[in-house]
Point group: C2
Chain length 144, copies 2
DNA sequence: AGTTGATTTCGAGCACGCTCGAAATCGTAG
DNA sequence: CTACGATTTCGAGCGTGCTCGAAATCAACT
């Protein structure tokens, strides 16, 4: 466990895939899947033996992917974004457009979700009210 | 088209599946699929020849299903709810619990979505700012 | 050197929610 | 009566996003 003097610096830098999985909340299987799917901006560093070593930049990128996924961006679109980033400078407007389009979409879904939620809330409330009054029998009409 | 005196009432009541699909925004394929999947509370009415005829109650139920689906409730859970409703009076508390659990879940996802959206917004904003200043080159760090 | 556990690649498999196709039947218009 | 379009059932197929398994390799400890 000691590596006090293993110069020219510890070769054991970076996190193992298991550690990266733990920190990002993504399974190791999924981490590898993302990589295979092209959701990378920079090839993940490897040890001489071929094991992945995750650096902060990788974790930040994965976090971004997670957020995009959580907001419903399809894998292929994230890949597209990753490709743009990988392609280097010159396509920033396109990247921005992609993100803005997503933003708009998410905002729309959010609004819609809220409205659906409100109606479900209403249903729950009337349901609860009727139950409290003991006259819930026969109540199922979806329209209320 | 005239049915002025076709007693004991027009036998052509209710909407065809195509009409129901149009009104609910669900494809005819999906309507039939929902039925097969057990997402029904009352067997859909049929013409003597076997064609489905949708009545207002059916449309309201489908709308509810649509809202539940749109808020992420899995098919099997909707089926469970449908079963409870079909089972008749006596299980209202269970139905209410099911809906409330869903409500809670949706509210949580909503909050999470909002936070994700905020971070994406922030990224878009800084991105846009840098672009405007002409120093977007090299900018891709997911952490900002 | 040997053992043990993590990691690798790669392809297959799975869960979900539709979506489609084929072949038969219905029903309406001419 | 004939045509033709809509509808029926049923099973198969598909797209997405993982998830898993097998067999090989790596690495750390004893």
């Amino acid at each position: 466990m000691l590596e006090i003097n293993s110069r020219p610096a510890a070769p054991a830098e970076g996190l193992t895939i298991a550690e990266a999985a733990e920190r990002t909340g993504v399974s190791v299987h999924t981490l590898r899947y993302y990589e295979r799917a092209g959701l990378v901006v920079t090839p993940v560093d490897r040890t001489p033996g071929g094991r992945r070593r995750y650096h902060p930049r990788d974790l930040r990128w994965i976090d971004l992917c997670t957020r995009l996924r959580a907001t419903g961006m399809p894998i292929r679109t994230i890949r597209r974004y990753a490709e743009l980033v990988t392609a280097g400078p010159g396509n920033e407007p396109e990247r921005l457009a992609l993100l803005e389009a997503h933003r708009t979409e998410v905002a729309a879904r959010l609004t819609e979700l809220q409205s659906h939620l409100a109606r479900i809330d209403h249903k729950v409330d009337t349901y609860r009210g009727r139950l409290a009054e003991g006259r819930a029998e026969g109540f199922w009409a979806p329209g209320e």
